[in-house]
């Protein structure tokens, strides 16, 4: 039997798996498809917009005891972020803190907490933004005053659009990078760095970006593209390899359709497999299935929202007219995005009275209810931070439970 089943391969499921593996647990990760890592920029938002997000979260925890950050605790966030930095270094992705805004493709800046180094490599205040002729996913004129377009060899004659992943594979080739650098260099004209959409290398991005910067002569930095996200794909692919090399069972495909409950414990999950359902059993289960977008919550046109695997109680407003604010870009966010399942400070699901429902079941990430309050982060502005903090806390608790269990068994 496995020590742990993690359901979901988005940010929180992948990070929980990595942490559990570090603690020596036998893990099975089951997911319907690949999660949101591949449609997000691939950086870590703790509380976007804050120069010192950790201090901001400390303040938040004092004010909002129901926020996932408060339930997981500041130590879980800090230790989780520390773990993720070291883990990403092991994958040759070396996420690092950033003390300035990073450029986006639309000419604004964002303030995530940890980024792959290529997002933070801009230097000076005169970047040159480079786009690719005929590529409809990025228009450099939207990014800043100084922009230019180059022609990528081999792409003009293609019958259909290139994807970011196609381009990233091309950038893994040194000859392709030489040809790009030769076109960019004459355009510099005093530019202090060069911004490109995040497509510089898939297998070996750190070497590709270093090489391109050397050849151009100024730092080259990346900006998030439209999906699929190459930085997210790099992270997913490298995590997958690391997991398989370390004997994690990774089952991406068929969905978990229910949790299996025996004597008040979650003893495993059932997968809607080909031909017949398949059951998998473990000592503990983590639900990292996401919120409404990720598929961890379902809704209908009558204003109901429910959790489909165990019918866990969802905190939500049953009046559908109050799910959305009038303004699409309302800075307070829309109430619907805050709905979720309440957990205690051990990440176990609780009911409205605060009673723990199942003590070997843990929730991570966007599935957890976020309080909708003033001066609190939008759920999208703290997604990865919450994923990491809750995953760290859940695995810390469940691994302690496992070792207590084995100690008491050894004593009998």
């Amino acid at each position: 039997m496995d020590d742990l089943i993690v359901v979901g391969a988005g940010w929180s499921g992948l990070v929980a798996t990595a942490i559990a593996l570090e603690k020596g647990l036998k893990v099975r990760l089951i997911s319907q498809g690949i999660g949101t890592v591949i449609v997000t920029p691939g950086w870590i938002s703790v509380w976007d917009g804050h120069d010192d997000p950790i201090s901001a979260v400390r303040d938040l925890i004092a004010r909002l005891p129901d926020h996932p950050y408060a339930l997981a605790g500041i130590d879980a966030l800090e230790q989780g972020l520390h773990f993720f930095r070291e883990f990403s270094a092991k994958l040759d992705l070396g996420y690092q803190p950033v003390d300035h805004g990073v450029y986006t493709a639309l000419g604004s800046t964002q303030r995530p907490a940890l980024v792959p180094p290529s997002y933070a490599a801009a230097s000076g205040n005169s970047p040159l933004f480079i786009g690719f002729a005929g590529w409809r996913d990025y228009y450099p004129t939207l990014s800043g005053e100084r922009s230019a377009t180059i022609t990528l060899s081999g792409y003009a004659e293609r019958a259909w659009d290139a994807t970011p992943t196609d381009l990233a594979r091309s950038f893994d080739d040194p000859a392709f990078r030489r040809q790009v650098a030769a076109q960019v260099k004459p355009l510099l004209n005093g530019a202090t760095s060069v911004g490109l959409p995040a497509v510089i290398g898939l297998e070996n991005p750190s070497a590709a970006i270093r090489d391109l910067s050397d050849q151009v002569g100024v730092p080259v930095f990346e900006m998030p593209t439209l999906p699929p996200s190459v930085p997210g794909t790099r992270l997913y692919n490298k995590m997958r390899r690391y997991f398989l090399d370390n004997r994690v069972r990774l089952q991406v495909g068929h969905p978990v359709v229910r949790g299996l409950i025996e004597d008040g414990k979650c003893v495993g999950v059932e997968v809607a497999a080909a031909g017949k359902p398949q059951a998998f059993r473990a000592k503990s289960v983590i639900l990292a299935t996401g919120g409404l977008y990720g598929g961890g919550l379902f809704s209908d046109d009558r204003g109901r929202i429910w959790e489909p695997l165990l019918d866990l109680p969802v905190q939500y407003d049953s009046d559908r007219t109050r799910w959305f604010n009038a303004d699409l870009l309302d800075p307070r966010g829309h109430p619907v995005h805050y709905f979720g399942v309440r957990v205690n400070n051990q990440m176990q699901p609780i009911n409205n009275q605060g009673d723990t429902l199942i003590d070997n079941l843990y929730l991570c990430g966007r599935l957890i209810a976020h309080p909708h309050a003033d001066h609190a982060p939008l759920p999208t502005a703290c997604t990865e931070g919450v994923a990491i903090a809750t995953a760290w806390k859940a695995v810390a608790i469940l691994s302690t439970q496992h070792s207590t269990l084995s100690t008491s068994l050894a004593g009998t």
């Binding site: 099975r28 089951i30 997911s31 319907q32 498809g33 690949i34 999660g35 591949i38 449609v39 293609r158 019958a159 259909w160 994807t163 970011p164 992943t165 196609d166 594979r169 999906p227 699929p228 794909t233 692919n237 997958r240 390899r241 398989l244 090399d245 004997r247 069972r249 990774l250 089952q251 991406v252 495909g253 068929h254 969905p255 359709v257 229910r258 409950i261 997968v271 809607a272 497999a273 080909a274 031909g275 017949k276 398949q278 998998f280 059993r281 990720g294 598929g295 379902f298 429910w306 489909p308 695997l309 165990l310 019918d311």
Partner: protein, 422 residues
Amino acid sequence: MASVELRELPYLQDTPFSADHCVKCNICTQACPVMAVTDLFPGPKTVGPQWQRFREPDLPSPDQSLDYCSSCGICTLVCPHGVRVMEINTQAKAELAEQKGFHLRNWLLGHNAWWGVLGTPFAPILNWLFSFAPFRLVLEKSMGMSRKAPFPKWAGYTFRGWWRRNKQRQSQAALTAGAPSVVYYHGCSTNSYDPRLGKLAVKVLEHQGFNVIVPDQACCGLPMQSNGDFNEARRFARKNINLLADFARQGIPIVGTAGSCIMALKSDYEHILGLHDDGAKLLAAGVYDISEFLLKLHHEGRLKKDLSAIDATVPYHAPCQLKAHGMGRPALDLLDLIPGFQAWEVDADCCGIAGTYGYKAEKRQIAEDVGAHLFKRINDSGASWAVCDTETCRWHISGMTGKKMVHPIEIIAQAYGITVDA
């Protein structure tokens, strides 16, 4: 706790309609192993859910590039929204094939079940001929059959022949009072090219105390389905349903050693060939991959524990069509029970051969490039052999790496001390 709601609306599960779940996130696009190595294929999202909207039953297909889809099904697996991308594409490919009309090479590849049996008496000549370079060149030039593709060797006898000659084994087993029964589905490859595997499987099942039955059975139909001949594939599917569903009805498990054939019985009959009757559903629920079956016995405490140690660490490739079962990696979980033995899974989606895809001259290079990462990691591992559950993948990987490839059951048999003649 209250009852759990239905997860999906049933009509959106129907293969063509599942396209409506697509949000164009492109997760399948970045994962497609074919798109990664060729400009000839615009990707699963484009030819699948996107072009599905332009496919009318009476109109010609909008684009031929669909033909480069290998039907490995990685798109369906990575889709977080439940779109049956590969199934949509396989159905559309069949319409494309129908529009194009008869294609000799694809017809030959689709009917390999016949050539296996018909060729058996002529094994020495055929094995020589298919390794004779000028003959392979003629096959490539005349009909587009890649001269680099690995043809299996005819064994010179069939598994079914061996089974018939061992009648007393059957009657003796039938006399074992109260022994539970299990049906062995051997598939075409085991029958004609690798009967040894079938004999090992029978003995391993008998070792668990089963009375093994080998009833009449047909090719699963997958090679015809892959080559767009759905009428012929359905004919074979119907045969299997007629021959085997009754066993499932009686609760007798049907166990196979060919991961992709078993997947056809489990899922393709319904979701690709569109057979929705009770027989198809009974059969789907009653078939097992042999590792899946043995692991189930283990979970029930019924697997024989006399597995002796094998000291080895080897790479394992989970074929794309085995991943499509949604049963995890039962071979790895099973092999973990052998003391001293460690198999680790390579981070590769597909070896590239995808059934008969890599046998086609115009697709051969794609098949080699798709598997390049897998071949490199197997070569770099230092192991002299590796494990894989499906036959064409084993032939392809072996041809590209020079390493010996074995089916998981060969290792289990060795651990039990079970041997058979070649």
